[in-house]
Structures are given as structure tokens and as C-alpha cells.
């Protein structure tokens, strides 16, 4: 999921962590990871699977609005 990393570089506000799901089963359980890639933004907005850039950005904006 390269978009997250590129967004980190594009904005000081954005931090991204790629988590190897099988090495961190507790984290995966806590975030109900059933399939990968699974993206969780600010613990509020989440989706599974690769999405286009505009859709990813929409999820980021939604997560911030929800704050």
C-alpha cells in the first residue's frame, strides 16, 4: 500500500505504519483484520483491499472530519 507512505511524505500531519499481520496477531485481532491489505485511519475509518488514490484520500479526509 504505497499511497500511505507517499502521503506521509506529502504531509507532516500523516504518519503511516505497515504492519505485518501474521507477526502481530494481537494487533490484527484488535483491528479485526480478516483480509489484507486492511487500512485503518485514526482508528476510525477502515477499508480492505487496494483502492484508487482519490478514494484513499477521501478516507483520510473522512477520518479527520470524524475527529
Amino acid at each position: 500500500m504505497r499511497l500511505a507512505q507517499h502521503m506521509s511524505v506529502a504531509s507532516d500531519r500523516v504518519r503511516s505504519t505497515v504492519i505485518e499481520a501474521t507477526e502481530f496477531p494481537e494487533l490484527s485481532r484488535a483491528y479485526h483484520v480478516m483480509g489484507v491489505p486492511k487500512v485503518v485511519i485514526n482508528d476510525r475509518v477502515q477499508f480492505e483491499g487496494a483502492v484508487p488514490e482519490a478514494e484513499f484520500l477521501g478516507a483520510v479526509l473522512k477520518a479527520v472530519e470524524a475527529a
Binding site: M1, R2, L3, A4, Q5, H6, M7, S8, V9, A10, S11, D12, R13, V14, R15, S16, T17, V18, I19, E20, A21, T22, E23, F24, L27, S28, Y31, V33, V36, P37, K38, V39, V40, I41, N42, D43, E53, A54, L57, V60, L61, A63, V64, A67
Partner: protein, 142 residues
């Protein structure tokens, strides 16, 4: 034993020719928590760093280097922070093998160039963020 084979090394070296500035890979390892995984992670990072003069490696132990770990916001091992001219906020938890390995190489390149491959509209929108954003991407090697 090497993790990357000759073909991998050659392909990675070609990719790393795109680096325009220094990159530091800060590795977090803790023998008592996940010794095998941390050793493998460290070995992989060192093999990648050997392929470019622009890449340096620093290994920290979160139990000892507590302040550094807290400053990076790293609370798991093995972990990698990919830093360019500054800390962009790119982290990996777990060994980035398989599919994630290409993500690591891509992260190294974008951290080095500081030029994200995003549309102008996306970049402009991200500049207006009013709050911090923490993106977790759960992935697997295959």
C-alpha cells in the same frame, strides 16, 4: 546466509539508483521479545543498505533507547523507521518480505527524493489537513 539472491540484489540496486539524498533506516530490535524475527529483520535491512552508499543503518533497542523509541512512536519490534532528509513518518512493523519488500524499497526511494507520486490535487488536499493522521496498513508477505 544471505536473504536476497543475486537477482534480487541486482534489481534492488537498479531501483536504488533513483535515490537523490541520504536515507537512514532506524531498526528497532529486542532480543528478549522476538529474537529470531529481529535478527532476520536487521539482516535484511543491512543487505539492502549494502546496495547503496546513500543508505545508513542504526539499530536501537526500545528497552534501552526508550526516549528515541518514544520520539519515533515505535512500540513494537521488529520495526523499521525510514528517514530521509527528515523523519517523514514512515514505519514498518515486522519483516518486510515478499510484497512488503517492494513497499520498503519504494518507501526508501520516496523518503530520499521527498517527491511523493501523488496527484497535485491530492497533495494540495493533504496540505490542508487540520489534524494528525495515523494510517495503519495491515499486510502479509504474499
Amino acid at each position: 546466509m544471505a536473504i536476497l539472491n543475486d537477482r534480487d540484489r541486482s534489481a534492488v540496486q537498479q531501483e536504488l539508483a533513483k535515490l537523490t539524498g541520504p536515507v537512514k533506516l532506524v531498526v528497532f530490535s529486542q532480543e528478549l521479545i522476538a529474537g529470531d524475527l529481529c535478527r532476520q529483520n536487521e539482516a535484511l535491512v543491512r543487505e539492502v543498505a549494502e546496495l547503496s552508499d546513500a543508505i545508513t543503518v542504526e539499530v536501537l533497542n526500545p528497552a534501552i533507547d526508550r526516549e528515541r523509541a518514544a520520539a519515533y512512536g515505535v512500540d513494537q519490534v521488529p520495526a523499521i523507521v525510514v528517514e530521509g532528509a527528515r523523519d517523514w513518518g514512515i514505519r514498518f512493523y515486522g519483516i518486510p518480505m515478499g510484497y512488503e519488500f517492494s513497499n520498503l524499497i519504494d518507501a526508501i526511494i520516496v523518503a530520499s527524493t521527498g517527491e511523493p507520486a501523488l496527484s497535485e490535487a491530492t497533495k494540495a488536499s493533504l496540505q490542508t489537513l487540520a489534524a494528525d493522521v495515523e494510517i495503519k496498513v495491515f499486510s502479509t508477505p504474499t
